[in-house]
């Protein structure tokens, strides 16, 4: 598969995620959209890693493996972020009984 396809695919996914972040006002949905963005990046990284491997396999059998490991770390971080994020959202919900980001406007100007 030409790498371009993967690039465009994941960029598309990424942008859908961005659009989601911009259009929704439910904190959790927004957060999900962000996860979507991360996944798009993961896909891209894996694709690149395979691309590099394809290019350099002869010289270095492990070429391109860094990309996949990076994805692994991204997943780690994402997991941690999710736990924290959800905790914060829940705390918010406890206090305001809403997770609508548009109500978050006590702080402005």
């Amino acid at each position: 598969m030409p790498i371009n396809y993967y690039i465009f695919l994941s960029v598309a996914l990424f942008c859908i995620g961005v659009a989601g972040v911009l259009t929704r006002r439910n904190a959790i949905i927004i957060f999900m959209c962000i996860e979507l963005m991360l996944n798009a990046v993961n896909l891209l990284l894996v694709a690149f890693s395979k691309m590099h491997h394809h290019a350099l396999a002869l010289t270095n059998p492990n070429a391109g493996i860094d990309g996949q490991l990076f994805v692994f770390f991204i997943m780690v971080v994402a997991a941690a972020e999710v736990s924290v994020g959800l905790a914060i959202i829940v705390m918010m919900y406890r206090n305001t009984h809403s997770i609508d980001v548009n109500f978050l406007n006590r702080l402005k100007h």
Partner: protein
């Protein structure tokens, strides 16, 4: 048309469609489900790219753990479609336009990348296998691996601090 190509296209379309549905569907639970579908299709891609380990981890961590977590939260707050009031139209449109134009710009920036000849190797190559990954992970990447434990630790502490009733 080669089978991998067919799979690639179908998976891509599936991913995109369900991603869009994540964004548009009113009911948050639905969008969770759609997101899970996205993850599945992405894992499919991983498999196509012969990155089995990541495919599995993706399923377990994301589709499994994280999404379940989301669902729990939703149920905890028992939110449903009508609980989310509609954002005002203009901001919505602006958001969509912004996202779209971002896509356009990125594509425009990247289309003339001389990557026509660059191919992503499909369903061959061994780097995606647990064996190799593990070796590299615990030899070269041991420091970041350990450090990520700090990350987890801090996340844990943080969640405790936040979640604990005082």
């Amino acid at each position: 048309m080669h089978i991998t190509q067919i799979l690639f296209w179908s998976l891509s379309i599936l991913a995109l469609l369900s991603a869009i549905l994540v964004v548009v569907s009113k009911n948050p639970v639905h969008s969770v489900l759609w997101l899970i579908l996205v993850f599945f299709s992405i894992s499919g891609h991983y498999i196509l790219l012969n990155a089995q380990f990541l495919a599995i981890v993706n399923l377990i961590v994301y589709a499994g753990a994280i999404m379940v977590l989301f669902l729990f939260v939703f149920m905890l707050m028992n939110l449903n479609a009508d609980t989310e009031p509609q954002k005002n139209k203009w901001l919505k449109i602006a958001g969509v336009i912004a996202g779209g134009s971002l896509l356009l710009v990125l594509v425009a920036a990247l289309k003339n990348a001389d990557m026509k000849n660059q191919l992503a190797e499909m369903n061959t190559g061994s780097i995606g296998l647990i064996h190799n990954l593990g070796l590299v992970l615990f030899q070269e990447y041991v420091v970041p691996f350990e450090i990520s434990s700090v990350l987890f630790l801090s996340a844990m502490v943080g969640v405790v601090v936040i979640g604990k009733k005082d």
